[in-house]
């Protein structure tokens, strides 16, 4: 395993998919933390059921082998066991369903008013981002396209098929509203470490609210088959401290207003 790690992880990507990865990426938002926790909760029951079923199965095969026991017992009714095998599975599915629904509905809930709105618009085959909270007219808006960096232009340390030319810069520890839509065919805006995957449907605005808890660079990919370059439509979110975000946006806005 260590050899494998040395082979594949010479450069460790921070919040991107890794070779031979089995689990989730590290959580960057409370939603993702909730998803990981739910996964572990459910896995507890899953293992429990797996072990129990295997035990029953092996035991039945063992004890009722045709050489061992040619005529099995002919029990057709047992009230106790029927009550037990009705109540226990329903309890288990309740224990799984309740936290699952709690998480599902809390993910959609907008708890507080978001501080910024970012629009992610899917195109064949790139994402366009609009920051228009600071506009004073319909024309001016902080809009840019985010294209994948082709393999031959990659610099050392950049991830193949994941790096983009313009990252989405967001403030960390701030409630964000992301409006996801598409201009042509359906796409899907997904960032695994944020626990977000939202379909981009033309003519419809889907809202997701996230709170990135730590600064970092988070990688994701288009997750709805959208044409030939579907695999080359990555998403990169860069979470920076709130202060840096403010100065970055005002720096980008000043030249724009200067021109106009």
């Amino acid at each position: 395993m260590i050899v494998l790690k040395w082979l594949f992880l010479t450069i460790s990507p921070c919040d991107a998919a890794e070779p031979w990865q089995l689990g989730s990426q590290d959580a960057a938002t409370p939603i993702m933390q909730g998803i990981i926790d739910l996964h572990h909760d459910i896995f507890f029951f899953l293992i429990l059921i797996l072990v129990f079923v295997l035990w029953i199965l092996v035991r039945a095969l063992w004890h009722f082998h045709y050489k061992e026991n040619a005529i099995p017992q002919r029990i057709v009714h047992g009230t106790t066991i029927e009550i037990l095998r009705t109540i226990f599975p329903s309890l288990i599915s309740m224990f799984i369903a309740i936290p699952s629904f709690a998480l599902l509905y809390s993910m959609d809930e907008v708890v507080v008013d978001p501080a910024i709105t970012i629009k992610a618009i899917g195109h064949q085959w790139y994402w366009t981002y609009e920051y228009s909270d600071y506009n004073s007219s319909d024309e001016q808006s902080l809009t840019f396209d985010s294209y994948m960096i082709p393999e031959e232009d990659l610099e050392l340390g950049q991830s193949r098929l994941l790096e983009v030319d313009n990252r989405v810069v967001v403030p960390a520890k701030t409630h964000l509203r992301i409006i996801v839509t598409s201009a042509d065919v359906p796409h899907s805006w997904a960032v695994p470490s944020s626990g977000v995957k939202c379909d981009a449907v033309p003519g419809r605005l889907n809202q997701i609210s996230i709170l990135v808890q730590r600064e970092g660079v988070y990688y994701g990919q288009c997750s709805e088959i959208c044409g030939t370059n579907h695999a080359f439509t990555p998403i990169v979110v860069e979470a920076v401290p709130r202060k840096d975000y403010g100065s970055r946006v005002s720096n980008q806005l000043i030249p724009q207003t200067g021109e106009a």
Partner: protein, 123 residues
Amino acid sequence: MHQYHLEKAVEDKSKSPEVTSEEAPAATEEARANEENTSEEVAEETPDEIKLETAPADFRFPTTNQTRHCFTRYIEYHRCVAAKGDEAPECDKFSKFYRSLCPGEWVDRWNEQRENGTFPGPL
């Protein structure tokens, strides 16, 4: 005494024309938070440091689908302008809201449709 002053200040703010009763608590809180932020940063940053502010969550549109939220805010703005005149300051917030929510392409198309008189919404 201190408490009283604070409440007074909040009251005054909520009376200002931009803030309606609907979002008064959130808006004043944010305004206060922003004051704190900017007062620290003004010294080192440019004076026109941006305020982190956007369209608030609207209880009429509690679901993931926000298409109508954008459309409604656009209509609200144009109704407001129609009722109160082009430069009415109370319409500014609606314009900020719809610009935050609607993709620029949609707004351009709707503006065109309004000019041609083919806008489908109730203006």
